[in-house]
Symmetry: C2
Subunit: 203 residues, 2 copies
């Protein structure tokens, strides 16, 4: 193989390595809308919720002495890039999180920029790698209501696999009724952000 051949081979190899390594998550990263200015708390929080597709939903677990019980779940706040800020879930009552919520609705939902892949080499706990906790009540959404239709469209458009999940598994739509926001997106502690500012951000 001549030097040109070696170089071409290296180029091809490099791209194979890229292809093998990046996978679905980074392919998504390419399409990620730019991160808002950290000074704009509402826009940053809405970006985190709109762009993430999964997070950790915490409920009170009576079976474990009332422990705060986090569980990794999929979610959606609307059609892709048309999020409205409120996270919806598709949970089976076979699973402990849904059962917890139906006994005690107190809940929180945590997402982070680290899952979007845009924090680079910054440590996941570094405050500039943005993280958001929404606290409130986790409530069942009537699947036959207008909101139920919204939840279904929001979830199934981002999680197409859900369409085929078994009918006999008692899947229900849930929403987090947000009462408090805790956003870390820069040094200096949590950013002040009201539910009103979050749900109706200035464009």
């Amino acid at each position: 193989m001549g030097s040109k051949g070696v170089s071409v081979f290296l180029s091809v190899l490099a791209f194979v390595v890229i292809e093998a390594s990046i996978g679905a998550q980074a392919a998504r990263r390419v399409l990620l809308p730019p991160k808002p200015d950290p000074a704009d708390a509402a826009a940053t929080a809405r970006w985190l919720v709109s762009q993430n597709s999964w997070g950790t939903l915490s409920t009170i677990n009576d079976e474990l002495g009332g422990a705060p019980f986090g569980h990794v779940v999929s979610f959606s706040d609307g059609l892709p890039n048309k999020g409205q800020g409120i996270p919806y879930f598709y949970l089976t009552t076979l699973d402990v999180t849904a059962r917890n919520a139906m006994k005690d609705a107190r809940s929180s939902f945590a997402v982070s920029e680290i899952a979007l892949g845009s924090c680079g080499k910054t440590d996941p706990q570094n405050p500039t790698c943005a993280k958001l906790t929404l606290t409130g009540k986790l409530k069942v959404v009537d699947k036959n209501s207008k909101e139920g239709e919204f939840a279904k469209a929001a979830l199934f458009s981002k999680h197409s696999e859900m369409k085929g999940w078994p009918n006999d598994h008692d899947f229900l739509f849930f929403k987090l009724e947000i009462e408090n926001l805790f956003l870390i997106d820069w040094f200096g502690g949590a950013k002040p952000l009201t539910v009103e500012q979050y749900l109706h951000p200035r464009k």
Copy 2:
């Protein structure tokens, strides 16, 4: 530029693209040890804790009506690929999670295979994309004890940035004293797994 020069340029460009696109997370993915057989609950749980570098730590938030409060944090269970299963954290008491734990130690820590990038196109909530919740008590570790030295080495080896975090921010080492494990790594609900099986898995 001759054809050799062009090829070398392309190779360099390709590697720059790799560097820019992959980032720390995917570079790490290349080094990921293979996922254990889902039938081996202890090995799968230990793999999830050993390979993840961040997760969601939930505590009881008195300031928010006793809500279960999830927060994304970095952690480590030992030196790279030498994890011992117990998650250690480096938290500042300026942050609400540490303050919560010092009032009420009930806590859980949730990690998922989705953060490792090895679930492919499987939905994050699909049971075959493994997820683990460790429930127990979140306790301060004396930094001057042998365990404090272990926690420091475990955390700082995986999170080198922590070495430079400000001394005046009251960072303390914490550990989760595990009392219960909730592992989903296949269809059919949570896998039975005791703390003893998890901490001392058969090789």
